[in-house]
């Protein structure tokens, strides 16, 4: 299936969880937050939340800002 992650299309197998996605990007141990289709999915739901074809995912962290 195709999903949009941080603005770019990615191919992933069906049934991909958010945890799987973070793992695929080496982000499992990094403080970050995930939004699917503009709704925050909190960390305790990352294992159980299965992504769907066409989902728009944002994975964000903290950067320098004012």
């Amino acid at each position: 299936m195709q999903i949009i992650v941080n603005g770019a299309p990615e191919e992933h197998p069906d049934g991909l969880s958010i945890s799987d996605l973070l793992h695929a990007h080496n982000l499992s141990a990094v403080p970050c937050a995930v939004e699917v289709n503009k709704n925050l999915v909190r960390k305790p739901q990352h294992d159980e939340h299965t992504l769907q074809e066409g989902d728009t995912v944002e994975i964000v962290s903290l950067v320098g800002g004012g």
Binding site: V5, N6, G7, A8, H25, L27, V30, P31, C32, A33, E35, K38, L40, R42, K43, E58, I59, V60, S61, L62, V63, G64, G65, G66
Partner: protein, 280 residues
Amino acid sequence: MTTTETAAVEPMSLAGRTFNSRLFVGTGKYPDHATMTAALDASGAEVITVAVRRERLYNEQGESLLDAIDTSRYTILPNTAGCFDPEDAVRVSRLGREILEQMGNPGASWVKLEVLGDKKTLLPDPTGTLEACKTLVADGFQVLCYSSDDPIAALRLKEAGAASVMPAGSPIGSGQGILNPANIVLILDLLKEHDPTYPVIVDAGVGTASDVTLAMELGADGVLLNTGIAHAQDPVRMAHAMRHALDAGLLAYRSGRIAKRKYASASSPWEGVIAHIPGE
């Protein structure tokens, strides 16, 4: 006679917590992480602002901000910079909270709310800011709310439950200082009228130390700044300057300055002068 036991600057209460430093500094625009951490240290700040941005998934970027900073030392205040409508600002606020909760940082329920109105001025949209503020307050956030220096816009944000209203001295990063001190004074009057400890923090536009001193002399509770330090030629030294400037302004405000007079008032006594004084 009036004396003072100490020159200590009294702590500030903000969103239910107490801070010894009234200087709030950003983490953006530094030439490198080492300069940033040295400047944060020199500033004495206890609260630092950060932005919420997409992870860079493909190109490695070396050390991340969170690796560079001793996060146990600071309250991390995520902002909604870059948001132009209330919905986006609410999304970003929740994402920031999610990260800070994972880190166990006390800034987890806090947000520096910016809902911008225009890309050239980066001034806030009054109606959009008010709407987002209401939503975030209802969602349990402590909203530190960026505002223009429009006194009524600021008052509405306080009425909506903002933990602090933070009026701009001048546009973000412009270095123009406090363009309209009279408006800052009106904001302080209106927001503190029946609530004298309500915190008002001047945010944005600070270019140099005297801007910070002036803000505090007007009666502000604190100052938030970023570019004035980060883009100075010597950021660490400027951070020291800003810390002194804040203490100078707060102490001066508490000291009861002399009134301005049109004419002079001699510092030395007229009595006992041996010189010829005209007309005498």
